[in-house]
Symmetry: C2
């Protein structure tokens, strides 16, 4: 594909993925010599109605991108034409490397309103420059992991597999989304590139078109079983239970064929799973599994689990791939300190907490999450475990923290049993999860309140 | 960024962006010698509740990708490890090029349920292989263009500018989204890479953090005006109207400063725009424009236009960037013909129209869209203008059709005044837009109905 214009965004071009005002502000700071250190905090003010917590994800990727960001000569040429940029500034930009620190929650940490997912400490221009890109990168994975973990909770131990690549918003979402799914605990993905790149097992069945391309359903079943012993067959192209009966007849007639699972993709999945299970068991195919898909979300999965539908694997697509019930997080990236002084915009009715922060998490005697304290990073630590740690120091990735971030799937798997019911339940509603402010932060916040 | 693992998906890797079952089905067809031509049709069954039409976009990009798709040696190695693929098949895959035809609606065409956005005619395995990728690529642009055009309709001639890069789902969405916005008629974008790549003017103002980093709002205003004569200043960091008054005082005191516009980003935008306009006009600054942003959607824009709020430019972000009220289109990519015979899945309650199709669009005497006829591609043409045309023939892009696709912005601009009120109004509801089936298609569909 080398002779035609590039279709995808190269790593090298990510420096230009920003809002124009970041660059004009950057030049202004540069001209004014406003080089003092600033801290920007990435957080959200409120949860979507349909979420009781979010699962922070993508901070590691964002830190990785930030530490590698460079403006190349061709970028500078483009900027010279596109905006009010001076040559001396562009020369400086060409030499620029991110020199600051990035603190972040470990990936896979449940996060609540007003808690920083990340804090960027750097000369103000540098910290400002990262805003748009960091928000874009972190939102995607946090959104998708936060949706995916609800499916995992709903399935109550049964594997959940991603079938949604085709519904996601473009290529980067589709590929990096799999990283978020892996963190959240999904068991597999149909997405080849995403699964290969982010180490989630590949899963696949067949499409209706394969059945339709054969002269009969039975002929399609036979052919696919011969190609792929132990495979999963889609049985609902014409009539689901007729399909199952026909398949059983085929297996009886040709006992060398080995079936792994059937997939139900339409109709009343609970009733069809029960009826299919009965047909399969009565014919002695007790080891054949049942995969169900078809517009599933966490509520439908929970209902199927509650009615004890004999479904072994849930395949999810549309509702997961765009986090359809909450497709956006209203993330903020706000200046909270400049030149050693806490800062905050004063906005009526909005809580803007100044200062660099740390989150301390407490657990009760049974090991359940019991509440958080939000504190200034430098005040006397309140009880609880501090959550934010530096991923980037003086522009360099911290290898140990980056390796810890890789453990998001284990972290989530350990965390889910520790969620109180008020956090793990799927219905809309307030969790009442306690978030208190430590004394110094509370005092400071009071001064910035209207 | 060359020594670290790639962060983005390279053009070359798009062949792997597919669902696993596409590749297992492909191998099955290859083994079975099922090489007859098939047609797959890309369409949606119903509109989202909040849409009266969709604007088809992204077909050109998808065709471009399809025509360039190649499996490289390292892909084949990965596939050999990842799935049940035979060496001979992988050798064949390494030689494979798309050899079929792709028909598509011109980008920027209003499209309705059951109308093909694209049809792929190719040996079945090839047409099947493209499914997941084409759906992913076309959905993104169609979703975003369909949302963006509603903002354009609501703004009734006032420019609408995209500020939403940070809210979009990852990098590809953010960059390719700008292509869709341009097609839909947006006037600019804050997104530097997206705007540069897809030729939409760059626009930018300033962030609250710039104000907060200065000792006073007035000092920040003065500094930014000196750097960027004629710029836009954000006036709501502390109190909007105090900010405007202070700015006027500054302009009076330092008449060499030149202000282009103010930006309102919170509060009651209509009331604040009126009050700000009055303050500016009374001080003689009648040429200063007003930009409004802050969670705007088409309904809020329409309300502001209806109350004659003196807003010159609307900036939109969150609601646009993920098409928040309709973040997914339930696109289908269905086998409609195989080996010269129409095919369709029979599903109770669902309309599955077999056969290769063409859409004929009629206009009334006043030039307004009057209705469409869906016909088999080869049946006697009904009245109206045929809309689908070949973008790819025998695997090669048709340069003339690809150039026509570039004219999407002009096409949309010409189309909007031709939409009847039942299509252009923003409220939810049925448009009643007439879609009829031509006789041959109707006869065929009858045979496939339950």
């Amino acid at each position: 594909m080398s002779d035609a214009p590039s279709l995808q965004v190269a790593d090298d071009d990510l420096a230009l993925l920003t809002d124009l005002y970041q660059l004009t502000m950057l030049q202004a700071y540069w001209k004014e010599g406003l080089g003092a250190r600033a801290t920007f905090s990435l957080y959200f003010r409120k949860l979507p109605d349909s979420r009781r917590f979010m699962l922070a994800c993508g901070q590691q990727h964002a830190a990785d991108v930030a530490s590698r960001l460079r403006f190349r000569a061709h970028h500078l040429e483009q900027l010279a034409k596109a905006g009010p940029f001076e040559d001396a500034f562009l020369d400086w930009l060409g030499e620029w490397r991110f020199s600051g620190d990035i603190w972040a929650l470990p990936e896979g940490t449940p996060v609540f309103p007003n808690q920083p997912l990340m804090e960027v400490d750097a000369p103000i221009a540098e910290a400002q420059l990262l805003e748009s890109l960091i928000m874009n990168l972190v939102q995607l994975e946090t959104l998708l992991a936060s949706k995916a973990v609800r499916l995992v909770l709903a399935a109550d131990g049964r594997p959940v597999v991603d079938f949604g690549m085709r519904r996601m918003h473009g290529v980067d979402a589709a590929v990096r989304g799999v990283r978020a799914y892996r963190s959240a605990g999904l068991a597999g993905t149909s997405n080849v590139l995403g699964g290969l790149r982010h180490d989630l097992p590949l899963r696949g069945t067949m499409a209706h078109s394969y059945i339709l391309a054969h002269d009969s359903e039975r002929e399609a079943f036979r052919a696919f079983l011969r190609h792929y012993p132990g495979t999963t067959l889609l049985v609902d192209t014409y009539d689901t239970l007729d399909g199952v009966r026909d398949l059983i007849a085929l297996l009886d007639a040709e006992p060398e064929l080995r079936l792994g699972a059937i997939r139900l993709d339409s109709g009343d999945l609970g009733a069809l799973a029960k009826a299919s299970r009965r047909l399969l068991d009565d014919a002695g195919h007790t080891q054949v599994k049942i995969v169900a898909s078809s517009g599933l979300d966490e509520h439908q999965i929970a209902a199927l689990v509650a009615e004890a539908a004999p479904i072994d694997v849930f395949g999810v697509g549309t509702q997961l791939g765009v986090s359809a019930d909450a497709p956006v997080i209203d993330l903020s990236y706000k200046l909270v300190e400049y030149a050693g002084t806490p800062r905050a915009k004063r906005a009526p009715g909005k809580l803007n907490l100044p200062g660099r922060k740390q989150v301390y998490r407490r657990y009760d005697d049974a090991g359940q999450l019991a509440g958080d304290t939000l504190a200034l990073r430098d005040e006397t630590p309140p009880p609880g475990m501090p959550l934010l740690a530096p991923l980037v120091e003086r522009g360099c990735l911290d290898a140990r923290q980056m390796a810890l971030a890789e453990q998001a799937p284990q972290r989530v798997a350990e965390t889910l049993p520790r969620l109180p019911i008020s956090l793990s339940r799927l219905e809309n509603g307030e969790s009442g999860y306690p978030l208190t402010l430590a004394p110094e932060l509370a005092r400071l916040a009071e001064r910035y309140r209207h």
